[in-house]
Amino acid sequence: MSDYILELKGIKKNFSGVRALNGVDFNLRPGEVHALVGENGAGKSTLVKVITGVHQPDAGEIQFRGQPVIFANSLIAQRHGIASIYQEPTLFPDLDVAENIFMGRQPLRPTTRRVNWKKMYEESSKILASLGMSLNPHTRVRGLSVAQQQMVEIAKALSVKAQVLIMDEPTSSLTTREVEDLFDIIRRLRDAGTAIIFISHRLEETFVLADRVSVLRDGYYIGTRAVCDIALSELIHMMVGRTLGDMFPKEEVQQGKVILKVDSLTKEGLFYDISFELKQGEILGLAGLVGAGRTEVARAIFGVEPADHGTIWVDGRQARIHSPRDALALGIAYLPEDRHQHGLIPTMTVTQNITLPILREFAHLGWVNRTAEERTARTFAERLDIRTAGLWQKVRELSGGNQQKVVIARWLGIHPQVLILDEPTRGIDVGTKAAVHQLMSTMAAQGLAILMISSELPEILGMSDRIVVMREGHVTGCFSRAEATQEKIMTAAMAGRSGEANTTSTQ
């Protein structure tokens, strides 16, 4: 009789010749938070899909409460009490909270088989209350914040009496305060006996929340440790298989003139009175909590949604930026947060993606000179070491890391003076992260001015020459590289909403 609720032994899974999982072991105790870490492509999501019944393993066995089981489909896994919560909440925006929790399982009145609305709302309130939420179950989900939507997902899992809860990157869109709320709920669930598998790229969270941590690398199971028995560097070593010497390769760069100046930029409801300067060769880190308004400022500078008031100066001259075309014409480029939505044209080739913004350079009266185009694309592909079968390959067939490089290549193609990067390494594994940071340093060294928006403190501290902190639409702090500390930045980012300063113990 094992004291594990879930045990996987020797799981193997192939996808048309690619080994996603090579004999992975994994076990889970009730009443524990078990972190699952590994780089992108290590096999975490495949393992999760095996546990939730979406995929069937090619070899190996699964035991649930000591009995061998086969999760032939997701419904069977769900019936065993396995629930999962993904990064993107899978909710119904037009329906209310209660319906979202009970969809497909609405309580019915005995004789008429009518939906028992009253009971549904009562049950929902109970579950939400047990999570410490006073969310009204009549609220339509569309208006809820990401954090609240996640709570609804958890409530959903509770309503099916989930015994195993899998959470995949739950914190990526949450503010620090919301993360704390979430962790409290997770701890409460754990104490009540639920087993939780927690996946996150933010390794600090593992140390705050988890009891044990398991590491996967390239589809192999590396090992499991109790969190109190392992240090961060050792964990990274297990994940990466090599010691990452310097995670933040920042060079000292000779800075040039002020290339971008933003003065009293304001947009009603989003940000107020934003002013800062950016020099050539400088990396300015824009820090703050999610929702502080940083992306909105970037989009205003780039012309996607121009500000209501305030001025922007580029290279000493006042600029009128009403659209991305204006911004591009001035040499400002913007790498948006969401690469897939906003970064690539999946059905087009690598060449076409790279040359998209500069296509006119190859055109005579509109007619495109394909040979010249290919030549330029090739230059960039080589410079950034983009691995493809050929430049004619469609971008959707490339790996995530190479796709990111294509996006960067495209922006380099317009020879920007200012590059705005919005969460450049979010959702990227440790190895590629370092590569992107290296690229940033090199570009800065060549005179490029970089405005880097990031919610990851280590990245902000490691890469920025100067740091500007925003909170709820206002600039609340400005630090040089030398004087910045985690505490100072967090304080500037987080003073309480009702005006009280919130002295918080950070992660």
């Binding site: 991305p324 948006p336 059905t347 998209l356 006119r360 055109a363 509109g366």
Partner: protein
């Protein structure tokens, strides 16, 4: 398995056929021509073939900007109604005494305006093209009815009707006009920045905005062009049949959209070729002609066209699924 068999397998695998949809169309075109020849021995006569094109040149013209629009991820259901509206306005102003050529220009302007209105609602008010053009499909046709009711305008001068059924040497005037525009549109789509942007918008519109592509401006141009060409098609159609009624070109949008989709353009946008569409246009035209040879009434013909539309989507899907299964 010998390498020869492997090569043959690859040549005729569903994947290849799917990847080269145009070859399938060519095949179907040949088959249809063969069938038509058995129905009428005069079919393959040059003059006859040229005359056959009379019936679908107007639809073919409209299919050109429609191809652009569908590749860009939109749709225009209002083309036939716009045609009616601009034609009626052209005809009634001619009837009221305006010079025929000025009236023609007026018609073209109205058509362009109709398209522009579509474009503005879609870009400025940010409404989906399906809904906007569903509304203008009713509105423009309605305007045509309001103006003419159940009457008709006839009595066009022969120099005008020449546009519809005149000849330039061995070929017809509409065919010449179509050929010129087809070449223009085709090269635009495949070889210019404008064409590239259309594909990009259809594939991922948001990314295009971030890349500085003037998405809204391009969409407005596409819909205005669609309206303009619809009006042009209307001029030619009116010239050909010699009269203008509010129910002119009723149901044209079906044939046009069918041809574009049959030509390999994806309804989701981002993919498709002009030569595919042109092949499909001739395929449909030839099929309708063949049915005409057998005295199949128009109302029955639409059963075939409707089925063709559905098959045009089903077939690639089926082939894709089949080829996947073959691979594993």
């Amino acid at each position: 398995m010998t390498s020869k068999t492997r090569i043959l397998q690859k040549l005729f695998s569903p994947a290849t056929l799917f990847l080269h949809w145009e070859w399938l169309l060519v095949l179907l075109l040949i088959v249809t021509a063969a069938i038509n020849t058995t129905l009428s021995p005069y079919f393959l006569n040059m003059r006859n073939l040229v005359d056959m094109t009379f019936n679908f040149m107007e639809k073919s013209l409209i299919a050109l900007p429609m191809t652009f629009i569908i590749i860009s991820g939109n749709i225009d259901l209002s083309v036939a109604s716009n045609l009616a509206m601009s034609t009626i306005l052209m005809s009634t102003s001619f009837q009221a005494g305006l010079n025929i050529w000025l009236a023609t220009l007026l018609g073209l302007a109205i058509g362009a305006l109709g398209g522009l209105i579509n474009g503005l609602f879609i870009t400025k008010v940010k409404l989906p093209s399906l809904i906007v053009t569903l509304g203008t499909y009713a509105l423009y046709r309605g305007v045509a009815f309001v103006i003419l009711g159940d009457r008709a305008v006839t009595g066009f001068p022969s120099r005008f009707t020449y546009l519809g059924y005149g000849y330039v040497g061995p070929v017809t005037v509409p065919l010449v006009i179509f050929a010129i525009l087809a070449i223009l549109f085709g090269f635009s789509l495949h070889r210019t920045t404008f064409g590239r942007f259309i594909y990009a918008i259809g594939s991922n519109e948001e990314t295009c905005r971030y890349t500085g592509i003037a998405v809204d401006r391009i969409k407005i141009i596409l819909f205005t062009l669609s309206g303009l060409v619809s009006a042009l098609a209307g001029i030619i159609l009116t010239a050909r049949i010699g009269s203008a009624r509010p129910n002119i070109a009723l149901g044209f949008e079906l044939d046009v959209i069918t041809a574009v989709l049959l030509g390999g353009v994806s309804i989701f946008g981002g993919e498709g070729t002009m030569h595919g569409v042109i092949l499909a246009l001739f395929l449909i035209g030839m099929t309708r002609y063949g049915m005409g040879l057998r005295n199949v009434p128009g109302q029955i013909q639409i059963i075939v066209i409707g089925s063709l539309l559905i098959v045009a989507i089903l077939l690639p899907q089926l082939l894709r699924r089949l080829s996947l299964r073959v691979r594993i």
